[in-house]
């Protein structure tokens, strides 16, 4: 890859330089020939001495002594003629005006030729002057250049390829390290992170966001693990009861009344299992991103009122009162909303002291509508508050009443909030605990 790119660039550069050079050399050659021609032309046009022919011949002899330059003179008058084959040269140059390259028969060399007609003067008849220079030196330069170009190019390409491979290797080493680190991350090795100090600046940001993504996943994974353990634990108690009491019942002869008693007790345990399973399924649905589908726009205070009515007798028994404050309309799936408010109220009823007043509030802002239930209670510590919505979390472990409450109530509130595009919140201030949820303003389809 690198070598191909390097070779291509070098070939391109080589070609361009070769073109430039050969053009420049050609121009130089033309100038040289033109100079030679002009030199003698001037002498022929302006010379008035009687022995001009001898002086011209002398000059030509002097100039051409190095063998690189040659002249031909053609005239009707044989005295003025100069050079072998002068007539043929005159004919050739006449047929092709401008600079002419010609392979000379006599020598192996090529000559660049330029010709001019010189009008008759008092001292000579009309003449055709042809100047030529040997192209060999210039061709030699080009040939040398060409000979050297290929190996130099190849060496350069190889060098560049090697260098860039090396640079890439060194430059990408952190990436290889990242890759190796990432390879090691797995369910059994969740603490593994990308090593940050060895990363260059460009990769550090990527590394740290990747690491924090791993942290978040790890937290969720840990939660899921403990959640699985919790589920198993929750299911184990009713299962143990079922197995135990059925075994005891079957170990002796029992009469119908006793057997019925066992079956009834079993049924209660099974109901408990069923409730846990269907609540778990409900939570799983919310987790999968299911949204409340049949939403209707309705008054929240009215729906809360219905739920409070459901609790009337319980409230009466517990000597509690519920006050509904505020109202707003929102698009809700009523049965889900009732379920969430039921769980909040039940939570409040469980924790409020006798004779207390429970406050159910509806508050609307531009972004969302908030529904909350407040009740006087023991203060809840700041780190416990967000955990209230975790499944199977019980703030007061000692007071857990597993018959009435399997610890999914507020998790279900959270699920219902998210099904409505909302969130849950909880605070505990001045002996008042407030737990609630928001509903997204946009009414989903």
């Amino acid at each position: 890859m690198f070598s191909a790119v390097a070779l291509a660039s070098f070939a391109l550069i080589g070609f361009a330089v070769h073109e430039l050079l050969s053009r420049d050399l050609a121009r130089h050659q033309q100038e040289q020939v033109a100079d030679r021609l002009a030199d003698l032309q001037f002498m022929l046009e302006h010379g008035r001495s009687v022995d001009l022919v001898d002086r011209v011949h002398d000059k030509i002899a002097a100039v051409t002594s190095n063998g690189r330059t040659r002249y031909w003179l053609w005239s009707e008058d044989a005295v003025w003629r100069y050079g072998d084959d002068a007539e043929r040269m005159a004919d050739i140059t006449r047929s092709k005006p401008g600079l002419l390259r010609l392979n000379m028969d006599s020598s192996r060399d090529q000559m660049a030729l330029l010709a001019a007609d010189i009008a008759a003067t008092p001292v000579h008849p009309p003449l055709r002057l042809i100047a030529g220079i040997d192209t060999a030196p210039i061709n030699q330069i080009l040939r040398t250049f060409e000979i050297w170009l290929l190996p130099v190019m190849l060496c350069g390409a190889l060098l560049v390829a090697a260098l860039s491979y090396h640079v890439a290797r060194v430059g990408l080493k952190p990436v290889a390290q990242l890759s190796a680190d990432a390879q090691r991350i797995g369910p059994d090795n969740r603490a593994q992170r990308l090593r940050m100090p060895s990363l260059p600046l460009e990769l550090a940001e990527f590394g740290s966001s990747f690491n924090s993504a791993l942290d978040r996943l790890d937290t969720a994974y840990t939660q899921l693990e403990s959640f699985n353990a919790d589920v198993a634990h929750e299911l184990r108690t009713p299962l143990a009861n079922l197995i135990g009491q059925t075994q005891v019942a079957l170990s002796r002869e029992r009469d119908a009344v006793q057997l019925r008693e066992v079956l009834q007790s079993n049924l209660e345990e099974i109901e408990r299992l069923r409730t846990i399973v269907s609540d778990m399924l409900f939570l799983a649905r919310a987790e999968r991103g299911e949204r409340a589908a049949r939403r209707v726009d309705t008054s929240l205070a009215r729906e809360i009122g219905k739920t409070v009515e459901f609790f009337d007798m319980l409230l009466d028994d517990a000597g509690l009162e519920v006050e509904v404050q505020g109202d707003a309309n929102a698009a809700i799936e009523t049965s889900l909303f009732h379920r969430a408010v039921t769980n909040l109220l039940q939570n409040a009823i469980q924790h409020a002291p006798r004779g207390a007043r429970i406050l159910a509030q509806v508050a609307a802002t531009d972004e969302d509508v908030r529904v909350s239930v407040s009740n006087p209670s023991e203060p809840i510590s700041a780190e416990q508050l967000p955990r209230l919505f975790d499944r199977f979390y019980r703030a007061d472990a000692s007071r857990s009443n597993s018959d009435a409450n399997h610890g999914l109530g507020l998790a279900i509130v959270k699920a219902i909030a998210s099904m409505h595009g909302g969130r849950v919140f909880a605070r505990s201030e001045a002996g008042i605990t407030t737990v609630g949820f928001s509903l997204g303003r946009s009414s989903g389809a």
Binding site: Q264, S265, N266, L267, E268, I270, E271, R274, T275, V277, S278, D279, L281, F282, R285, E290, A293, K306, T307, E309, F310, F311, D312, M313, L314, D317, S335, L336, H338, R339, T342, Q346, A404, N405, H406, G409
Partner: protein, 226 residues
Amino acid sequence: MKVLIVEDERKTADYLQRGLTEQGCAVDVAYDGIDGQHLAVHHDHDVIVLDAMLPGLNGFELLRSLRAVKNTPVIMLTARDGVEDRVRGLRDGADDYLVKPFSFVELFARLQALTRRGRLQEATLLRVGGLSVDLIARRAVRDGQRLDLTAKEFALLALLARRQGEILSKTTIAELVWDMHFDSNTNVVEVAIKRLRAKIDAPFATPLLHTIRGMGYVLEERSAAA
């Protein structure tokens, strides 16, 4: 009541058959979709209990082919909790659905509701033993003695009286009396029953409102032996 059960899970089909037969129903059972379709189309039933996942022909397909010829009420049983299945069942012409695991009491109540649907107007004065419930005057009297009930207590009593002899689960009661359509883990219904019992049974010699442990409540006159 003539019931057809189409359910491939043997254990489920068997207990449903036994339970419904004991409740006085005539029960046909099919263990796959093909047999089920044949029975459903060629015999007359008051109601069909149809499992959604069946070998041969699944519940939805069976329902569609049945609806092409008949309007027998159908209650679908879906194992998956997905809304998808429920919506699909109702769209294809199911009259009701239950999500597994469901309680037998619940199923029986729904079956009765489905077959009751479309019947002539119900009586407005209901009697259970010495108790009479006047649905129009909203008055309850036992042994000549007027019972002082709150509105919700009366609604609860009216429901139990209308369905006398039938076990009503807590979920059904919460649904029909308070319009709460979900399994709540509250003991609201228990408290309400306790209060109602204090008014209609406590002052009298024989109780009419009975608790069926683990299942629900029933209002009926029982002989002393029970």
